[in-house]
């Protein structure tokens, strides 16, 4: 499209310039030659009049005027000769009067729908004035033909420009667009994408390299997925035995002597923490390998919070609902969302001195879940970092034990990302930190 427009503008300007220049030049040429002629005739007439020529009419006719022109002579007695003096082909009055006042006149004017050139020469020595009027029909026709040809040429060039543009875009731009959209597909997780490179040899090397890269990436992802699944089995099997055995011991507490009892309690607590850690690590590894699957359902936010909060085991929390928040409907994976809420609350308890407030809010097309804590807040320069893996908050909370390995918030970020949402931390009004999760909601 741009090509066509450019070509059109260019050729149109060219045409206009050419036309104007030609027109001016041709006109000038014609004017000069006719002027010259007229001056020659005028001189002749003057000489004849000086010599006392009696027959004006014969004089005029003998001057063999240009084809398609009229001339006339003004003498004290009046006008002699053709129609310039009177009739439909008369020159403009202003011209005649200026001529008679003694000024040379050269003027193009229109009469009877035709362009004409009037050349007037005053002959003060013999008290006369000579005027010749030439019809410029041919010149006019020539110019018209020229103009039409230039218009056609301009249109042709524009059409050619459009065709060239389309050809160029097909050959050059589309393949490039193909490469870029293939790259975007890969970035979004579709590793099967390959280019099939058209007949254009310029792009063959790009196509080859791209396909190599895609294949390598896919192989790496597959290896990671295999690792994740192998590791999963190796970690979960011993855990199964640990969890089951500990439960049997715990069920028979009453049979155990005090020392054994303490040992069992420690064991139970540690196995629980360890299990939680393993789950987090496996989840991270699945997310990295791109094999995490998301099971989206229509979730009613209020109902969800009613079920999710009690699982945090920190006692009842009063949830505040902003207008319309409780009835927000989300497309969400319940289990992942539950992890998000649990991890945020856990984080507040571990590092923020306890949860102070949980507030839900509605925004156009979105819903927000905010968890506020009682801690010192998060410094502005750390607010991105804390969502990274294995980063632990500097500030301790009330509970020191098992502060975790620093995966909680990064998992929150990943789960939220899988939902197409966002999470960030800001300062709460009361001085602590406020973690906000924003998710798309049905309008």
């Amino acid at each position: 499209m741009a090509f066509a427009l450019g070509a059109l503008v260019l050729s149109a300007s060219l045409a206009v310039i050419t036309y104007e220049l030609s027109r001016t030049y041709l006109l000038r040429q014609r004017e000069s030659s006719l002027e010259q002629q007229t001056f020659v005739n005028a001189r002749l007439i003057r000489n004849r009049l000086r010599a006392g020529e009696p027959d004006i009419a014969a004089l005029l006719t003998s001057l063999s005027p240009q084809h398609r022109s009229e001339h006339a002579l003004h003498l004290p007695q009046g006008w002699f000769g053709g129609s310039p003096a009177a009739g439909p082909e008369s020159a403009p009055v202003a011209l005649r009067s200026k001529l008679l006042a003694g000024h040379v006149q050269v003027q193009v004017f229109r009469a009877g729908d035709e362009p004409r050139l009037a050349v007037g020469v005053p002959l003060p020595e013999v008290d006369a004035a000579y005027i010749a009027v030439f019809r410029l029909l041919e010149l006019d026709r020539t110019l018209r033909t020229l103009r039409n040809s230039l218009i056609v040429a301009a249109l042709l060039t524009a059409a050619l420009g459009a065709l060239t543009g389309r050809w160029a875009s097909r050959r050059l731009l589309r393949p490039l667009a193909d490469v870029s959209s293939a790259a975007v597909s890969i970035a979004n997780g579709d590793f099967d994408v390959r280019l099939d490179g058209g007949p254009d040899s310029d792009l063959a090397s790009v196509t080859r390299s791209f396909n190599l890269m895609a294949a390598a990436l896919q192989e790496r992802i597959r290896r990671d997925a295999r690792f994740a699944s192998a590791v999963s089995h190796e970690l979960r099997s011993p855990l199964t035995t640990l969890v089951a055995s500990v439960e049997v011991l715990t069920a028979r507490r009453h049979e155990l002597p005090p020392r054994a009892l303490s040992a069992v309690d420690l064991l139970a607590a540690e196995v629980r923490s360890f299990q939680s850690l393993v789950e987090d690590l496996l989840e991270i590894s699945r997310l990295d390998a791109g094999v995490a699957d998301v099971a989206l359902q229509e979730v009613h936010l209020g109902e969800f919070m009613d079920h999710a909060l009690p699982l945090s085991r920190i006692g009842p929390i009063d949830v505040e609902y902003g207008p319309g928040a409780a009835d927000a409907m989300l497309a969400a994976d319940k289990r992942r969302l539950e992890r998000v809420v649990a991890n945020l609350i856990d984080n507040a308890e571990q590092h923020g001195g306890g949860v102070t407030r949980v507030r839900l809010e509605r925004r156009p097309g979105r819903a927000r879940i905010a968890v506020e804590d009682n801690g010192p807040g998060v410094p502005a320069d750390e607010r991105d970092q804390i969502f990274e893996r294995f980063v632990r908050g500097r500030t301790g909370g009330q509970r020191q034990a098992a502060a975790g390995v620093g995966l909680g918030l990064s998992l929150v970020a990943e789960h939220v990302r899988l939902h197409g949402g966002a999470v960030w931390v800001e300062d709460a009004d009361g001085g602590g930190a406020r973690f906000v999760v924003e998710l798309p909601a049905r309008p």
């Binding site: 699944s229 199964t240 969890v243 055995s245 439960e247 049997v248 069920a251 319940k334």
Partner: protein, 232 residues
């Protein structure tokens, strides 16, 4: 030994890892169950045939034939509730296991108390919420929740216990839409966070058995965004 509420059930555990098998045995025996053990699918099938248990616990990763195969073998000879034990929570494994005939799944490590609860739920008798005695009729389908049979166009249909319970639950609410959450609770005993895929796969399995054309069901109808219902 077998009671209506599943306490003290006979459970067959098919698991090749010795320690897992032993610890699960210990834990489930604490809950009053009787345990049979097998270390492979090839061993488990004949063990079941000799002494059918109330529930079979199948590990997906077994030497020789895998857990999916065992599910299919068992389904050919019995409608016994099958619980698969998986080390991976991948969609693919879970759905494949359910399609192979399992009634429910648990991801390792299972919390034994929860495992016992799952087993109890699987052993619950169908028709408790039916409230009616006698046959229910839906088009060419006849269902007797108490007696425990289903007939389609006069011919007996063989359903697993869970499929039957699902059908009875829908039949007890004729023409009413039941949400996945409701069905998960009533048939499997799950709370709000239960896996909706259990319902979806079982509906698929049910349709294959009771519909003329499973792709365009007349009886078990999906109501988009809401759930399922049984139409006359």
């Amino acid at each position: 030994m077998r009671t209506e509420y599943g306490v003290g059930a006979r459970i067959l555990i098919v698991e090749d890892d010795d320690r897992i098998r032993s610890s699960l045995r210990l834990a489930l025996e604490e809950e009053g169950n009787v345990i049979d053990e097998s270390t492979s699918a090839e061993e488990g099938l004949p063990a079941f045939e000799r002494r059918p248990s109330d529930v079979v616990l199948v590990d997906l990763m077994l030497p020789g034939a895998d857990g999916f195969e065992l599910c299919r073998w068992l389904r050919r000879i019995s409608d016994v509730p099958i619980l698969i034990l998986s080390a991976r929570s991948d969609s693919h494994d879970i759905v494949a296991g359910l399609e192979a005939g399992a009634d429910d799944y648990v991801v390792k490590p299972p919390v034994p108390k929860e495992l016992a609860a799952r087993i109890r739920a699987l052993l619950r008798r169908a028709g408790r919420s039916a409230g009616t005695i006698g046959t229910l009729r839906f088009g060419d389908l006849e269902i007797d929740p108490d007696a425990g049979w289903v007939r389609k166009a006069g011919a007996a249909v063989s359903l697993t216990k869970t499929e039957f319970r699902l059908l009875c639950e829908l039949a007890a609410n004729p023409g009413r839409v039941l949400s996945r959450e409701t069905l998960l609770d009533r048939v499997w005993g799950y709370d709000y966070f239960g896996d909706a895929r259990l319902v979806d796969v079982h509906v698929r399995r049910l349709r294959r058995k009771v519909e003329d054309d499973p792709a365009t069901p007349d009886h078990v109808v999906t109501v988009r965004g809401l759930g399922y219902k049984l139409d006359k």
